[in-house]
Symmetry: C2
Subunit: 340 residues, 2 copies
């Protein structure tokens, strides 16, 4: 065999090098003084002594992917927001526990690397990192011939954040009588895309639909919202956020029990919050039950907040027009009921 | 549509739940007192105050995958060591900079989740984490219908470690005249599998070959070695490890320059270290040039160590029979030469 057997085996080192070179500026743009990094290092270095002002810092870490929203992005060749989807999903997950983002690492793999696509994805990850104030400290781009379906790729990421020990939000003070408030989602965020794509497959995704106020493609690509800023505003205002719930895969039925202690349950009253119309379209076309809709999708509930009754007014006044009272905590055994 | 449209769209929530339940014990077995974790949390919590004894701790982070070694594991349905491949790759990467492992997060994705396979993979990741003394703090298992080729899956992970700032190994003291020592690899580790699989495709992978002393399948599945323990022994003995180089994708040609400062170069003398026979077989069958072999594979050089001349004897005495002098640092412009 000749000089580049590896390329014939499906691994293109020159492409990997081109990508590393082209993403360098975007990645470096996320690095502050706490990053001790050399380009080409085996690992990223992040100065933890800048956290030393905390009494008892606790690191908070999560790994997530963006699911088959990737296939929607690929269909429209729209990669500018997929990094926001990934980073925001992770930021919201650590925010639930009180964590603030420090640094992020991404993983991108494909059967064959398309440098233009990979560069655009990493640039969007870097842009999202900059906006939430975290460093894109490292990552891996892998070419895995035969593992992925032709033209497909996967994207995942890991976020490391920090929280002061006494400020860890663990839901331990949640009591019957507390109110459930919601910050709205922008759409599906990063969950339920396999179902949505199957149900909507026969429709035109580019035509604007009056019912949506946009096209199906645009509605499906709406970026996963980040709740860092509104949650920080509520905390600054002095609202007692006893618990947060990021509504991701499994919907309210599977996510809300994660913050409910024994002896508590939750009721949500449908109609008290706006549901992005894409959900109604999916439900109607797919003839899907309410139960399953709430088990797969966030249904407009992006982040749920457990707030004591006396703080509800302050919370609503702090984020006027955005926050809704959507239900309450009851006595019970960790079950979640949606009153339809 | 009926009650489980999501399953018909290819996402099986019941399987995901079964997996979460079955991996719980293995994951928890990696948790020490520093982990503040609840099963089902949105993110993992790790007490950083246990690091407070350090003067200026620096976090060290890396994300890696195991490449198409996965396809070899799948062919033999052998998942017991794939977690070691993943964790050891990451441990070696942070070790280069002086980092010690703290916690790990894994990412597994497939077109369709086979719970038995996923559980075995996570159990092997957990076992590897236990052995290197790090917590498996979190992870994500994703079912992505249509993204992966039928029957395929991908596995990646992120390791967070720590190093005292003054002990960061950055290669800045490497000088011409320093010696290059090598810790042997066990085989391909996690790089070059696409090429090896293509070249060896026509052979019987189960039959023992005298040249290998084992079968091709066994030789290819040899786990990625972990160099944490031998490196710690050298450090404890007082050997000045000026630089380390984990030989991964790109071989010595692409990895060694990552630790070479301007004004330095490296020469390696082939024949001074043992080459696992699988490399000779791949080269002969594939008629691959020496250059390309050293550009794709580690060729038996698992971890390279840059040691000043006066410490070489102590190093060899500390790890007798394992460590070899394989070359030296010269004046030059960051190039790597292998004398064949």
């Amino acid at each position: 065999m000749s000089t580049d057997a590896y390329a014939r085996a499906g691994v293109h080192r020159d492409v990997a090098r081109e990508i590393r070179w082209r993403i360098a500026e975007a990645v470096r743009s996320t690095w502050g003084a706490e990053v001790i990094a050399e380009w080409g290092a085996f690992a990223g270095l992040y100065r933890a002594d800048l956290l030393w002002r905390m009494e008892k810092p606790v690191l908070v870490a999560t790994t997530d992917g963006v699911g088959t929203k990737l296939k929607v992005a690929a269909r429209f060749n729209r990669w500018e927001t997929i990094g926001y989807d990934l980073v925001h999903h992770c930021v919201n997950d650590i925010l639930v526990h009180g964590g603030r983002p420090l640094f992020f690492l991404d993983y991108i793999a494909a059967g064959r690397l398309d440098p233009d696509v990979i560069v655009r994805i990493v640039e969007s990850v870097a842009a999202a990192c900059r906006e939430v104030g975290c460093a894109l400290l490292g990552g891996e781009t892998a070419e895995l011939p035969g593992v992925y379906a032709p033209g497909e790729l996967d994207l995942a990421g890991t976020l490391i954040g920090v929280v002061e020990h006494v400020r860890i939000r663990d839901g331990s003070r949640i009591r019957p009588g507390d109110h459930l408030l919601a910050l709205p989602s922008s759409g599906l965020h990063t969950n339920g895309y396999s179902l949505a794509r199957m149900v909507l497959a026969g429709l035109d995704w580019e035509k604007s639909l009056p019912e949506l106020g946009t096209s199906i493609g645009e509605a499906l690509l709406a970026p996963h919202r980040c709740y860092l800023e509104p949650i920080q505003r509520l905390e600054s205002a002095g609202v007692d956020l006893k618990g947060l719930c990021h509504v991701t895969g499994g919907g309210v039925y599977e996510n809300l029990p994660r913050v409910l202690l024994r002896g508590t349950a939750a009721v949500l009253r449908r109609g008290t919050w706006p549901e992005p119309p894409i959900f109604g379209l999916i439900q109607r076309i797919g003839r899907i039950s309410d139960q399953e809709m709430f088990r797969v999708f966030n249904m407009g509930l992006g982040m749920l907040l457990v707030v004591p009754p006396q703080d509800v007014e302050l919370a609503l006044a702090t984020l006027p027009g955005e926050l809704r009272v959507v239900g309450e905590i009851m006595a019970g055994e960790q079950e979640v009921r949606v009153e339809m």
